[in-house]
Symmetry: C2
Subunit: 405 residues, 2 copies
């Protein structure tokens, strides 16, 4: 008789955003007259930029003609896209990344869930706490996290690096030595980040202890301060210790278009085995490329027109971030929102994160994300995203502020 | 110090089609004047049907307007697509499949590589031999296959079910009891299939021994005979033992568009644990949906216009299959091509599969796929696909036949 992967049984509850979705749906059904504003899941609301729309129409037309039709894409992704990525995201910033170190994918969520596969199940992972749930959940499924403590809401074999107001949301080197270190910078969910020199310390630490940093740079387009690195490869020595994940979801609004990429430098090795070659094997065996049309859309992100239009889009969302942060600052303790599209706030009056979630949903009809959903150190915090439309964001802030009056 | 997943080191050579690609590239570079015809990889050549192009343009326009823009898709896929799938692929054939048993994905290659994740690493897999390499390779990566015997080209813990001319390409129940049985019907690479009553025997067997059948129906659109099942759920009892994988790559030419789906019935359980719930968790945690535009393209596959256009496309490829089969029949032993777009032939004069590959590439400038690349029982066979354009297919057949003169 077949048996299941028992690790799945260890997972407590469902995926965070599925739970929120169900709660909101139930509320909306019970209160059909209420206009709910969603600042919960980090989903964009602005339409795709004209340059991207134009590129997609062109690619669709190509797919309709025998002469220009494209079947299976090259394993790593089309050269036109990998070239644009390398030129714009890396060479322009003085980073050494080659085109065959870039693996185009259907998004950073898939990559961040799948990347652990090429590592031993005996490796210890370290995560910031709070953290994007996929890093931990995908390792639970793989059997890398030990047992779950329901009281503490922690896994016995995961190394947690608390990031709270007390340490300025800067993770400290853990007491136990990790093998894999997940860093998301600028950070989801706290909206904070590290300076380049703080990041350099992590690169040095990883090289020193023989750890790999899984560096999730999904929010790099929102960096506004000059002392923050856009890529981990801006740090010396990162090529021997870091894998970088990138997304088009937030810089170009591709949450429903699906495109991302992962950089695995050839200098990253374990006892002489190239992780680049391993990821190439995984990519070629269990994935079949992002759609041609979507890869052309990705290329348009790097065109002159695309860049100009997307700068405006990012500015639009960052204006929302400012609206939320400044609007709430007088009545709440608020963080983030300067180099990232997330505002992280302290829940008022000692409410738990989920209590505040229910309170906001019921009293203000505003949806946010409970900080505790991202890990135990997220308890007592709450995330609001800047990805709504501006009108709704202003209205949401008005409602939340009036609650505190 | 971090360690890698050692199972990757066990994989012999690279992914089959990558190897072929490299060989062909080298030949073409050495012989730039030769016109190589590719009937190797099962990639389509006909442009997308007009109904699909129209649907994609419409969806692209929607993504360019704030009112109709779509971000993250629902976890399982858009309801409009799952509804069309259930109505057309299942209810119309009398199969009981609910909309929340359908999981829309970026293609059957991803699903067939990922599905093993929800099973125990201790499960024994059984595969037809020859077989689509992804089934075995993804299990090697997961550590389910034991050690590799270079002489025999087999894995110690994999149960092989030879399918050769001797048994009419019908797998026999194995001596050892498997936990997971991979069946691809109509079959890649042999181009043959089972009758519905033969498939029913496999369903009965799986239920009897407590095995799960991973049923890959990627080629169902090519079925021309009435006693062949289009879905495993046409068989009684399949809901308690079978997962079905479907692809839009071959029925609608989506190899470069990327769309597929997996059906996990709620009746499929292990000690009370629902595999549907497990796959939902995997899907929601490590994947973020197929693009909206692509899901609309999938919906158009089921429109009246789409169906009519795709019937023609399938007929076009099956005409190629007939051309190859009839063209080679006088000089080669040929199989398949009636319910599938593949022709499977015996290599002549005792050549190995790779010898015949090199011979054909060099003498006829025709690319096929060596049967041994699909498993040891594929040795001495060779696969040609019907997915070329007709003119090239006719020319390839002429060249191959003239070699045998």
């Amino acid at each position: 008789m077949f048996q299941i992967n028992d690790n799945y049984q260890k997972l407590p509850g469902s995926y965070l955003f599925s739970t929120i979705g169900k709660k909101v749906k139930a509320f909306q059904e019970a209160n059909p007259d209420k206009k709910v504003i969603r600042l919960g899941i980090g989903d964009v609301t602005q339409p795709l930029a004209p340059a991207i729309i134009e590129a997609m129409h062109k690619a669709v037309d190509e797919m309709g003609q025998a002469e220009t039709f494209r079947g299976y894409a090259p394993d790593l992704g089309y050269e036109f896209l990998r070239h644009a990525i390398v030129e714009n995201d890396y060479r322009a910033r003085g980073c050494e990344v080659a085109e065959d170190e870039v693996f185009v994918s259907d998004g950073a969520k898939s990559d961040s869930g799948n990347i652990q596969e090429i590592f031993s199940v005996d490796n210890r992972i370290a995560v910031c706490d709070p953290v994007y749930p996929v890093y931990v959940d995908s390792n639970v499924m793989a059997g890398r996290t030990g047992t779950y403590d329901k009281e503490k809401e922690t896994w016995s074999d995961v190394i947690y690096m608390p990031c709270t107001a007390e340490n300025g949301f800067v993770p400290e080197f853990p007491k136990e030595t990790p093998d894999l270190i997940y860093l998301c910078l600028p950070n989801n969910p706290t909206g904070t980040t590290l300076t380049k020199s703080q990041l350099q310390e992590w690169v040095d630490y990883a090289n020193r202890v023989g750890a790999v940093i899984i560096y999730d740079a999904a929010y790099e387009a929102y960096i506004s301060e000059s002392d923050v690195a856009h890529s981990i490869y801006e740090c010396e020595g990162a090529r021997t210790c870091a894998i970088e994940l990138r997304s088009f979801s937030k810089n170009a609004g591709f949450t429903g278009v699906r495109l991302g990429f992962t950089v695995v430098p050839k200098d990253l090795k374990c006892n002489g085995v190239s992780l680049n070659a391993m990821w190439a094997r995984r990519h070629g065996t269990k994935f079949n490329g992002a759609p041609y049309i979507v890869q052309r859309a990705g290329e348009a992100v790097y065109s002159a027109a695309g860049k100009a239009q997307l700068r405006e889009q990012v500015a639009y969302y960052m204006n929302n971030a400012k609206t939320i942060k400044e609007g709430l600052a007088a009545r709440y303790e608020v963080y983030g929102g300067v180099n990232a599209p997330y505002i992280w706030l302290k829940t008022p009056a000692g409410m738990t994160s989920w209590e505040f979630f229910d309170y906001l949903l019921e009293k203000a009809n505003v949806v946010g994300t409970p900080g505790s959903g991202f890990g135990p150190s997220g308890e007592g915090y709450f995330r609001l995203t800047a990805f709504g439309n501006h009108e709704n964001t202003v209205e949401a802030v008005r409602r939340v502020v009036s609650l505190a009056d």
